[in-house]
Structures are given as C-alpha cells and as structure tokens.
Symmetry: C2
C-alpha cells in the first residue's frame, strides 16, 4: 500500500501538530529530531512526515528511505559514543504516527540491560548526559551531516 | 560494514546455539520463529543467522532482506488479526545477536498501550491466545506462506 498523499495529516495527532523533539534535519519524506530524555540523552527519532500508522503502510521505496535515515543515525551513535548497544523500535501504541526510536544504550545507563520502557536499575551519578563521550551539540551536528549525505528521494 | 562470514557463530550466544522460538521458516540469511509468550501470542522474531550485533553490521542488501521478512510478517498479522498496532523492535541488550521482534498488539492485551516491556495494566480473561481472530497454527502457516513468497537472496 502506498501513502495516499505525502501531506496527509491529522489535526488530532501529536506528531502531525508538533515536531516531536529538537529538529535536526528534515526532508519532504521524514524529519529527525532528538528527544529530550534525561536518562537517555543520545536518543533520536525518525518521524515520517505523512500521517501513516504502520511500517507496512509505506511501500518498499519509502521503507528504504526511512531505514537509511535510521541507519545513518545508528552509525553516528556507534562511531561517536561506542555504545554497548543501539536500540531501534517503532511502537506507536500511544501516538500511532510512524516514528522510529534510535537510542544509544550503555552498560552504565539507568535501565541497562532492560529496555528503556522497563524497570530502572540504577541512578547515574552526575547524569547520563555528562557521561557521553561527546557533547550533544557535537552529536547533533554529526547526525545532521550524516543525514545530509544520504541520497535524496 | 559487511558480514564477515554468513556462518559466523559464537558458542556462548543463545541465538547461535538454539532456534530462539518455534521455527516457522529459514533461509541461509535469516530464520523466523514464533515466540512462546502467554501475554503476546502473536509474536514472531526474525533472527539473522550469522552472529552480528547491530543493524548497521549488515550492508544495505542484508538490511533489505531482513526487513522484507519483518514486513511480510507484519502484513500477515494485520490481515489476519487486525491488531490495534504492530510493534517492531531490535534491542539485543541481553542477547546481542541481531533479531527483530514483530508483535501484534491489541487494545485488550495485558500491557496496551504500554510497550510489552512496560507495566502490566490488566489481566485477559481466558488468556490472550483465545482472544485472537485465528488459531496460532493458521497464523504460523500464513506467515510461512508469506515468507516463502519473498524473493530469494
């Protein structure tokens, strides 16, 4: 099934009405934002611009475009932060507008190895942001640069 | 980065040593299993056969192969079960061997709208399996048929 219109929006949808985080870069198809999460500071989202709920609402071309953005972010997180693991997920139970979570996880983070939606296992003295290998502004810039290098369309 | 060898295995890895669920179908590149989960009976996994940890350890061809299997499962879940939402995730914090969770979610399920790793919100009288629109054996067969129809390689 193809997307009916690249501009399909729903006025009652949070991700149609607002960016959903700090905007890093956007194209006609998707936007990437960084999520402001104290526990998981290296947390980006790829949000499909049109209002579609499910991954298979995109045709294979759309999926590939979307996943290229996800992969570009993951590569930056791995190169800059050397995380213990990267977590990728598209859930959308609360906001059923297609978005991918891309999250760098560390063996010292508040929930590791639990999913970020699971139980907290520890406190992080000084906060998670201070424990990252580079400042978030540097990370944002590296993510932006990687996304800009993706093939258009 | 490409996969060094399609047969790369680690003797200490749970997903190198065991199927990781009820086997539905496998190719040289991936296998699909159904997870035996009382709360989430319509829960499949796409497991990459070679031992790689991260999504971006696959090149784009491998990613596409993997995601075609994920999408095929999602389409069957949507067609047969009309779930409220499908959840996709690759975490691997506990078992860092690339595998995708593909899970049909329902507004009546034990955790909805929470992630399956979040807090339980209710009990399901009679159990979740009995509430599905079709028997799991039928669902397995539909998933197998959809996977068999995918392009090889």
């Amino acid at each position: 099934m193809s997307v009916a219109s690249p501009l399909a929006t729903r006025p009652d949808c949070e991700l149609c009405r607002s960016p959903g985080g700090r905007l890093i870069l956007q194209t006609a198809a998707w936007r990437v934002v960084r999520v402001d999460d104290e526990d998981f500071p290296a947390f980006y989202r790829v949000i499909w611009q049109a209002h579609v709920a499910e991954w298979t609402d995109l045709d294979e071309g759309g999926q590939q475009q979307c996943m290229r953005a996800v992969s570009a972010i993951e590569r930056v997180l791995r190169a800059r932060l050397a995380p213990a693991k990267v977590n990728l997920a598209t859930l959308g139970n609360v906001v059923p507008h297609l978005h991918w979570h891309v999250i760098a996880r560390f063996d010292w983070d508040s929930h590791y190895p639990n999913p970020i939606w699971g139980n907290r296992l520890r406190e992080v003295p000084g906060g998670a942001r201070a424990a990252l290998a580079c400042p978030l502004e540097t990370l944002d810039e590296a993510v932006r640069t990687a996304l800009q290098a993706l093939p258009a369309g």
